[in-house]
């Protein structure tokens, strides 16, 4: 793949298929993401983005092909990924019976971080994300954006090497989302982490990361676009067109489409 460093990609999909009962979600999906990269994933709804994340997380195995994360199989070597990976779901997925602070601590408990560190780390992350003073609020007492920030704090508090975000900023107003995005980019870059962000916002895709993976139904890589750090407006428009073209190909004129094995 597009390895800049020469090192093997930290996330690598090769010919991955995922078949659910009655639905073929991913077909021959192959891509690689390097260590330290911040990559966005776009694609029309139902094209298999979340399924791709679940495979990276090892929540289920692929039907065919291989998924490697840091050289390991995330499903077969489930435990190995402890403290190495974390995800921020689109919905915050907080435990309703735990306060904001406790929710962050629970993530660390799950990840096997020593108990003595929970409180300090959790308070630190909550205050960095603007939630100081709200530590003892239950999820139902928080706004949607605040819950999302607790969810970010929970993921970052375990200090993972790889962090995934599934449309984590899309349910928020533009100002809050912008703030959280910047926060996220900074955390990933300064922490030397690898970040993968699913988004429905083309602007987010074009400004957030180093690279855009464009998925196309049924779960296939349509394009892989490198994005310069400070692109000029003309280039941005061009890239935007390219992303859109990748997402919605004219069915007949696309060579990749005919290469899809008939299943």
């Amino acid at each position: 793949m597009s390895s800049v460093t020469g090192e093997a990609p930290v996330i690598e999909f090769a010919g991955v298929e995922k078949v659910f009962p009655g639905h073929h979600a991913l077909r021959d999906l192959s891509f690689g993401i390097d260590r330290g990269e911040l990559v966005t994933v776009v694609g029309v709804t139902g094209c298999g983005k979340s399924t791709t994340f679940n495979l990276i997380l090892g929540l289920f195995p692929p039907s065919d092909g291989t998924v490697r994360v840091a050289g390991h199989d995330p499903h077969a070597e489930f435990e190995w990924f402890r403290r190495r990976i974390a995800v921020v779901f689109q919905d915050a997925r907080l435990l309703p019976w735990r306060t904001a602070l406790q929710n962050v601590c629970v993530g660390m408990r799950f990840a096997g971080i020593p108990k003595e560190q929970w409180q300090e780390r959790a308070r630190d992350w909550l205050s960095r994300l603007g939630l100081a003073g709200r530590e003892d609020a239950y999820p139902h007492q928080l706004s949607g954006g605040q819950r999302q920030r607790v969810s970010l704090a929970r993921a970052f508090a375990v200090d993972p090497e790889i962090i995934l975000c599934d449309e984590s900023f899309s349910a928020l107003d533009e100002i809050t989302a912008q703030g959280l995005r910047q926060e996220f980019v900074e955390l990933v870059r300064t922490g030397g982490k690898t970040g993968v962000v699913i988004t429905h916002s083309l602007t987010e895709a074009l400004t957030l990361g180093d690279r855009i993976l464009v998925l196309r139904p049924p779960g296939h890589l349509a394009d892989d676009i490198a994005v310069p750090r400070d692109p000029d407006p003309a280039l941005l428009d061009e890239l935007r067109e390219r992303v859109l073209a990748g997402m919605t190909p004219p069915a007949a004129a696309d060579p990749a489409e005919s290469a899809v094995p008939a299943l």
Binding site: L57, F81, R83, R93, A111, Q141, S143, Q146, V158
Partner: protein, 285 residues
């Protein structure tokens, strides 16, 4: 960082439990009902012979006697302990069976039908079977208590387990939790409301059934006391014991509700907040 617009919640964290109690004390319906009941009773007992409807003073005297005499007090405690022992055993086994059925489909296929069958057997049949099978009174009562309440605990646990949101389970699994941490932080809190429901239903069932089980062979216990009262046509005693047990039941259920309010204190009070559900309504992916 953008600040959000939600107003801070009342600083004193959820005091749902005490609040409920206070509301109940302010509610006049219970005292009014008690007064009406006593009035009707007083009037009826005035016009009927004491062996049909005993007078209030005689019942009060009898209650005083029961609560101050060692032997009768022991009967009351024995009955309550029998219920407690039976229910705790049924709860322990039911919880284990429910969790097993919830987590292993093989277990649910083989255990669910027999448990449903046990649930369908009339309680009185268990009493008769217990009399034939066991000579020991304690074993008989325990057997009946256990089988009558076991299906409720098992099935309720099973249903609650299956209702644990998959989203929360996936969230937890993404961190690679140990089995115990996953159970303690996700499964157990998620099934707790169901467990409380099962306890409330089974307490009522247990207290009603324990008397029937005690009618056969027991020499100590409220059932035995009721039986001897019936043989002596001692209506005062019958009413007193019945009242006593019903009040005990109300107290236990009240305590249960307090415990429940405390355990589920994280829940939004009705009208507290729009997002009352566990998950956001829109689940993508």
């Amino acid at each position: 960082m953008a600040t959000s617009t939600v107003t801070p919640p009342p600083k004193a964290a959820p005091a749902t439990g005490t609040r409920t109690v206070r509301r109940r004390f302010r509610d006049p319906s219970i005292p009014i009902l008690i007064v009406v009941l006593l009035a009707v009773w007083a009037i009826v007992s005035h016009f009927t012979p004491a062996y049909d409807v005993p007078s209030i003073p005689s019942v009060v005297r009898e209650l005083g006697h029961i609560l101050t005499t060692g032997k009768t007090l022991q009967s009351l405690l024995t009955t309550l302990i029998r219920v407690a022992v039976g229910l705790v055993a049924a709860f322990a086994v039911g919880l284990a069976l429910g969790l097993l059925m919830g987590s292993r489909s093989l277990a649910s296929r083989y255990l669910l039908p027999p448990i449903r069958f046990v649930q369908g057997v009339p309680s009185l049949s268990w009493v008769i079977i217990a009399v034939i099978w066991f000579a020991n009174v304690e074993v008989r009562v325990w057997f009946v208590m256990f089988l009558v309440t076991l299906p409720g605990f098992a099935l309720q646990t099973y249903d609650s387990y299956r209702a644990v949101p998959a989203e929360l389970r996936d969230m937890a699994r993404s961190f690679r939790p140990g089995r115990w941490a996953l159970f303690r932080e996700v499964t157990l809190p998620a099934i707790t409301p169901g467990i409380f429901t099962a306890w409330k239903v089974n307490l009522g069932l247990g207290i009603r059934m324990v008397l029937i089980a005690e009618l056969v062979g027991a020499t100590v216990g409220v059932g035995a006391q009721l039986l001897s009262a019936q043989q002596l046509f001692d209506m005062t005693s019958v009413v007193s014991w019945t009242l006593l047990l019903a009040v005990c039941m109300l107290i236990i259920q009240g305590a249960m509700e307090l415990l429940e309010a405390w355990a589920l204190r994280y829940r939004p009070r009705t009208g507290d907040h729009a997002q009352a559900s566990v998950m956001a309504p829109s689940q993508k992916g």
